[in-house]
Amino acid sequence: VSFLRTEDSTRPWKGGYAPYDLVKELCIALGVIALLAVVLTVLFSSPDDKPSTITQWSHELPADFTTAATKELAGTSPTAEYGPPYNSGTASVQHAAFLNLQEWLGVSHPISTAYDFVINPLKTIPNDPGLRKAIAEYEAAPEKTKKEWDEAFATPLEEYAKAVEEKKTPPSTVVVNTTTDGVTVKAGGAGPVPTMMTGLLSLAQSGGVDGSLLTSRQFYQTDYTKPLLFMADGGLLAERAEAQHLLGKQWGLMNETGSYPGQPWLWLYALWYQVEPFKASHNADLLVLLMMGLLSVAFICIPFIPIINRIPRWVPIYKLIWREHYRGPGARGHSSG
């Protein structure tokens, strides 16, 4: 690395020494920092907003839940079309030039949204012959027929969601009963889908979907990927996040619920998402991470980067740091040996 070496006249210190107690200094620092942390705790505490559940989602936003569930069944939800590591979709696959890291690493957490989020939970409902028949009819139908049923049921729900978002009068094809939190969708040609969605909404409101998405082949479970992805496909998490200034456009990467500081050290990471060409790019996450990776390597290599490693000599902040030293005798030309 000789080509990286530039002139460095820094020589070992030959000057004086002052008494110093390293252990005492560390103990005092520990006491001060611990006290500061306790004072901040007493003054501000820390945030702990309760997590959302699928039960809560299906009660508070039953139409949104039904819309999301229908998309999961139809394979048109963000998770269903995501791509690796969940499935073979392409909607959320990012690449830059020859870098296709997401595809190279493949599907490591396989998720079939139709079965994992809808059909398998429905199969846990006992003693409902009508629902059993609807599930069997759906599973036995050709893909083309399934698609027609899904679209027939999803279309009025999407029109309803659009009207709600634009604060217009919702179409009469979707009726939400605010007393029972039930949803009625007037959709012709939807086959068994209305029966299935009514069953899933009831199951979710009773807490059954929360449990069934965590069920695995073993008793203990710590992987919340499925329920989190299902909820993220709906509107409840985003609604809560927007109210708490946690969206990406709100620099949410740095924020936490309430007025707490969150992760302010991610300010530079969050910054790139606010500016072009990252802001509008389909590959924004990958491009931002590559940029941060490049900057991180540069940060580590600052001692080796010409000009950057000389700026501290040109900007006289060091005169402020070592002002006592420069005031002293023999500072000029003898400070470092």
């Binding site: 460095d8 820094t10 210190w13 002052a18 110093y20 901040l40 990012q94 936490e256 080796f304 070592w322």
Partner: protein
């Protein structure tokens, strides 16, 4: 009585001990004096970073002893979670000021580039150490952060083996794997500071000094000097 055992000439133990003592004799490892130029408040932020890390580990150990759900249901648990959170904020705050201070001192001079590198890498490893804590909180913040940040992890393929929505995996990273890496890096950083000493001030008559990195001199004459991290 038998004669004392002779020292095996190729003993790994002896070699490591001799090299250790040669690199860091006790008076340099735990000095009782420091160069007179170490006289600014900026020097406090290095030791403050270490103190913050100690509070983080202490409060984190208490939270770990009681399990991840404890702090949600008890006042004392919430207290220690708050101390943990604020000590993390203090850790990053003091570390960033420490890094800026070292930049403006060009603290990599005189063969100290590896000191800078270990400090910078510590900062970069501390970021995922904190992130895994945020997604292990088991509250709405954890839900939102994990579902949003997963896209970035997935975009670079990391999501295949580092799943932010898997609480069990993130908790393991947060309470063991990443803290161990941070502590090892900080330990290496501090030992390197002790070995090389605090970078001396620029000489005022210098015109264009800069960093000749990896200097073989390595400030050996500072063997008895002190200095802060």
């Amino acid at each position: 009585m038998s004669a004392p055992p002779t020292r095996p000439s190729k003993s790994w133990t002896v070699k490591i001990r001799e090299r250790g003592v040669e690199a860091l004799p006790p008076e340099r490892l735990l000095p009782d004096g420091q160069p007179t130029y170490v006289a600014s408040w900026i020097y406090v932020f290095g030791v403050a970073s270490i103190a913050s890390l100690m509070v983080i580990i202490g409060s984190g150990c208490i939270l770990t002893l009681k399990g991840p759900a404890w702090w949600h249901v008890t006042g004392i648990g919430h207290f220690f979670n708050s101390v943990h959170m604020w000590s993390v904020e203090l850790f990053f705050f003091t570390m960033v000021i420490h890094l800026w201070g070292k930049y403006w001192m060009a603290a990599w001079r005189g063969g100290r580039a590896h000191v800078w590198v270990t400090g910078a890498v510590t900062f970069l490893v501390a970021v995922p150490a904190a992130l895994t804590g945020y997604v292990s909180q088991q509250n709405f913040d954890a839900q939102w952060i994990s579902t949003q940040a997963k896209d970035a992890m997935n975009s670079v393929g990391v999501g295949a083996f580092f799943n932010l929505t898997d609480f069990g995996q993130m908790y393991s990273y947060h309470v063991l794997l990443l803290p161990v890496v941070v502590v090892l890096l900080v330990s290496a950083h501090v030992l390197l500071v002790r070995r090389n000493g605090v970078v001396p001030p620029f000489e005022l008559h210098e015109r264009m000094p800069a960093a000749r990195v990896e200097s073989p001199v390595a400030d050996g004459a500072e063997a008895s000097s002190g200095g802060q991290s």
